[in-house]
Amino acid sequence: MSIPFFNTEIKFASDIIAADLSIIIIMAALIFYISKTHQWKSVWNLAKSTDHRKIGILYISIGFIFFLRAGLDALIMRSQLAFPNNHFWVFQGDKYNQVMTTHGTLMILFVAMPFLIGLMNVIVPLQIGARDLAFPFMNALSLWLFVIGGVLINLSFILGGGPSAGWTSYVPLALSETIQGNGTGFYDLAVQVSGLGTIMAAVNFLVTIIKMRAPGMGFMRLPLFTWSAIVTSILILAAFPVLAVALLLLMFDNTFGTQFYSGGVGNPVLWQHLFWGFGHPEVYILILPAFGIYSEVISTFSRKSVFAYTSMILSLVLIGFLGLMVWVHHMFTVGLGAIANVFFAITTMLIAVPTGIKIFNWLFTIRGGEVRFNTPMLFALGFIPSFVIGGVTGVMQAVVAADYQYHDSYFIVAHLHYVLIAGTIFGSFSGFYYWWPKMFGYILNEKLGKWQFWTFLIGFHMTFFMMHLLGLKGMPRRVYTYYPEDGLFELNFISTIGAFLMGISVMLFIWNVIYSWRRKEKENVSDPWDGRALEWAVSSPSPHLRWPRLPVVRGIDAFWHEKKFGNEKMQFSEKEETHIAYEKPTILPILLSGGLFTISFGLIFGLTIVWIIGIAGVLLLLGLRSLRYESGLTIYTSSQLEKEIRKGDGYET
């Protein structure tokens, strides 16, 4: 059965019906739960919130929902690939490609990014001694743009077919008739809209870190997580506009019939340059904040400040800088010639040097310390050897002529998951366990955490180590099947088992969140790990109204410094401030995102009137926002803020 839907049609096959049903059931359950527990008011407050902690939490939890969807995609793919010539449900051919594309796009742009930006949101202002980000309104807007981007790409599957040209969306494939429905349109606008949010977030973090550090918090005293936020934001500012341009041209080709990327008049290789001009910095955008988390965690749980702090910063900056000029190593087999290939091979190899320095610095941070094996530390320790495997295969791929063999094979799939999971996802979990008390005011259960870590680590290596060999055995990436005579069955089967083990691990994490929330172990929740940076000096969960007088920073590891000199808490500035501005809660960011959703929907389904209405709506809302400048703020003096805090929830600072 199929029904027409604007310029496409929706075929109600079993998978679509299952997807529709599960969406309906989950939504109904959610609405029932919220109504039953009378939480609509809190939902409304969250929607209007401009508090950096709440926005960070929303980033992470909505990212986590997409994580589940993309993880389900991964399990579907692994089930289809478990046996040669397999027919798992409907996931062959185009359906497999849709699932594979959604998995990649979601995991990179709608899971890893919000996990990291979410953590940055919660922690960076606390670490530098700021009361919020520089532009709380824009922060909320960034969040809701990311959310509607994610919603769009998730809807594509049930609204006539998702994108199916891979997360790299290579042209002319992405523009050919083989794409079902409006897949490429969904991909284009979802990524475009959320990318806009990401650019805003980068501006926000840069301004906040440069302008809003507490007294005494010089650049050379910033915690390394904050330093990684600086370098990441600069990379975002360099890379995401390139993506925006690439996507704009793609939209013109896709919707209005221009020929920028066609094989005839245009040039398909142009897309690859633009995409990887974004795409390579993007992988460093994903890894650097994770590096920052590892620095914090390893130093805290070794009870030692980070080894060679300055060289850590320098290598962050170097990795970021080199990361901007290696993109052609994704295109070694395009045939750009030996000179181009060798140049980019050498810049790629050079990245190994600062990365190696960081690895050794972490190892020497442990040396001479006192290592405690709490869950955040376990993830950080699991990261070191696992990530090094991903790192060295990266160097192997920089060896151009040898890469002609690895390229576009499962060897690449192995490598990219080794860096993205062992790097970014281990880092995110490490950060979640570490900062959970700061975000939610309770500690996650250690025993369940350890179970989760070990299942994740073992599942991860089972799934992806095999893929190196599969690649060398000649299995190209992005294939939905292989034949019995290819001799790929055993390794694929092990890989599938590993993937399900990782699935179990994620379930354990969810169970841990619920279990620990019911238990609410609140003892010593404000500084459970004997923390070092400033965020551990405020109560948990971190209060939004805080620091009527700003803390004074007197050394690297600000809070540790005070503890060492016998002070229980931070020392505060004497200065009476007269203009402490807090953004009032506002619904405008969500409405603005709604406007952009309308525009995207109109463009995707070719409904001119709809996208014109959307543009008008966005302009109107922007006008409203510009009228709201001072009236949108609550201004305190230091003593007013102090009074407010005292009569409030009893938060102490």
Partner: protein
Amino acid sequence: MRRFSLYFLLLLTLPLAGCSPFSSVAVLNPKGEQAKEQVDLITLSISLMALVFLVVLILFIRFVYKYRQRPGYTPDPIHQNRNKKFELIWTISPFIILFILAVPMIQTTFGEEQESKSPSDLTVKVTASHYWWRFEYPGQGIETAEELHLPKGKKVTLVLHSTDVIHSFWVPQLGGKLDVIPGRTNKLSLTPLENGTYQGKCAELCGKSHANMRFKVKVENEDDFNSWIAGLKSGNQTQSLSKSEAEGKSLFNENCLTCHAVEAQVENKKGPNLAGFAERERVAGILPNTKEHLEDWMKDPQKFKPGSEMPKVKGLDKKEYEKLAEYLQTLH
């Protein structure tokens, strides 16, 4: 500890030298000059990288074990947070390793490019379309599909074209891949060194049947190669067909001839050239070449190759499909 790591390294590199346990690993079991050079690079880089990994792993295990929190252990209160000597070591030694890796990398990369530009013994024009491969031998004046025949020990230049999207030409045992990009001509050099049949694959996502865009490469002695060419050129004229085969032929002419040629000299029809079909190992590059599979394929190509441009052969009864398949298997 040092001796152990050395043994470990040997253990890792031995199989890569082409010994038995890894002979099923196509890339590490090269049968062509380019693939051999690439395996040398792969072996060198795996060995160096295994060394790096081992150093990290040993330090990691040692530090985590030695400095773990336990009763009776008090860490040195003076924290060492800089150490010029060690820092210099781990800053400089990567440069040395990378240098050892970069020199042969540059040599091989430039060498292979030089080679692809110099004249070769044979030129084959390769055209990739959704989801099959056309092979034209301009010097010999013939065309074939799905199976590429190459003479042993000769340098071949493959001129790669695409009619639709980007594909990538990859025969792991003969050499690395090169993309096939519409609007662009790429040249790949291969020099097969041993007789045999090798798997070829499309390595760049190209649509629904990317996984099924397979081909075979048959490497044979030069004499056999030449007689294969001659055989294709002389075609099927001399052959006498049985009654049902002849009926199959007329069915073919009615239903299939618009897209498929049966003479190797006829070039650039829409679908694969079927001259010499009886000798091919596979139907459509994927199914074993038997009558049953051939019939299944004709009845519903989409079942085996989703998105294939080959339409269903319709309106025939069971007998007629059989005849058609019989005829196709007479094509030499």
